[in-house]
Symmetry: C2
Subunit: 200 residues, 2 copies
Amino acid sequence: MVLKNKDASTEEKIKEAARTVFTQKGYSATRTRDIAEEAGINLALLNYYFRSKEKLFELVMAEKVSELFGVIAPIVNSKKTSLDEKVTLIVDAYITMLSQNPGLPLFVLSEIRNNPEHFGNRIQAGKLLTESFFVKQLIEKRPDIHPLHFIVNILSMSIFPFITKPVLESAGVMNSDQLNEFTEERKILIVKWFKVMIEA
Amino acid sequence: MVLKNKDASTEEKIKEAARTVFTQKGYSATRTRDIAEEAGINLALLNYYFRSKEKLFELVMAEKVSELFGVIAPIVNSKKTSLDEKVTLIVDAYITMLSQNPGLPLFVLSEIRNNPEHFGNRIQAGKLLTESFFVKQLIEKRPDIHPLHFIVNILSMSIFPFITKPVLESAGVMNSDQLNEFTEERKILIVKWFKVMIEA
DNA sequence: AAAAGATTTAATCATTTGATTAAAAACAAA
DNA sequence: TTTGTTTTTAATCAAATGATTAAATCTTTT
């Protein structure tokens, strides 16, 4: 019997094109023909390899959700690092990752908005925000303030510049290189700011 | 000659429905039939009053951009308020406004991402972030740190919870009421945090 | 009331779009 | 080479969708 020997290169070309186009334009604005063109393949091949636009999207989306939330999972659950160390690691991990993939947060957030039912409890991020060891450390340090406030502060200050990238560029505030410089600076600043906030 | 006497009520019903549907699903995922149904009108009326889906969208979008950026314009340009006062006003204005319109930022940001060319320099927000009196006050206070860092901090901490609302709800971290409570708390906290950050 | 104009409706168009099909081409096994 | 299998292509389909049209209804003016 002959093994399935799909040309992995073609399949991967389609998936890569799908990543690009879906992330750039979102599910609804993406035409399967856009993906085919981006991949340099015949339209029918998309269905041959992935059955449907939706199936292909789910594949890409699952990847992107992992990328976005996977960053912090190992950090916030560690029992070996201090509070301050965790903040340093989180900020650094997010800014480094998003510099390579700036469209990621806006993509994931807007697709979840468009179809909240579809994601249901598939997102385990909830537990990271409410049950991780990081949360315990925050409560220990500041029992008077809900830990989510600090988590939102750290994430927002790290991620927000990337979410607003399209506006910053359209409005001529920054170009792509300047944004990277700016967020690189923030790696150190945010940690410093966190330290004074947690004591304030 | 008889004046054009369009039934303003119908026109407004369509515009209102368009606001709802466009904001919820974005331009591409919105069908003109969705808007017609939401407005309770015949599909053809949409074109009768607004020519095309795109024209209607531009109308709504212009409104939404104003809502989103109009909030801060009068505050940051005032010469009568102190730095701290401005921060208090900005945070309060945004959180109050977004509590009534939580989907606004994600909508505007993702539409600009989908079609950056289209917005070009139509967004005057750039000047608010680079040339306002608020910026001068920030530089005066902390000439060593780019003022945009502080502006991003204030805006991100205020707006980010609303951007992530769909995730927070899907993941079961918070429901809508809890989010309002949470952001209401932040009105005071963010100002406090800003004060220690600007001194740090 | 009659005429003129504005608004609304049902039906229909043309295009786009996701998907399928049948045949061709490429490849592997014998 | 021959045979069978996988991959690719061009052509086509059916449904969805933005838009238009022509007729019907309602409103205003005279």
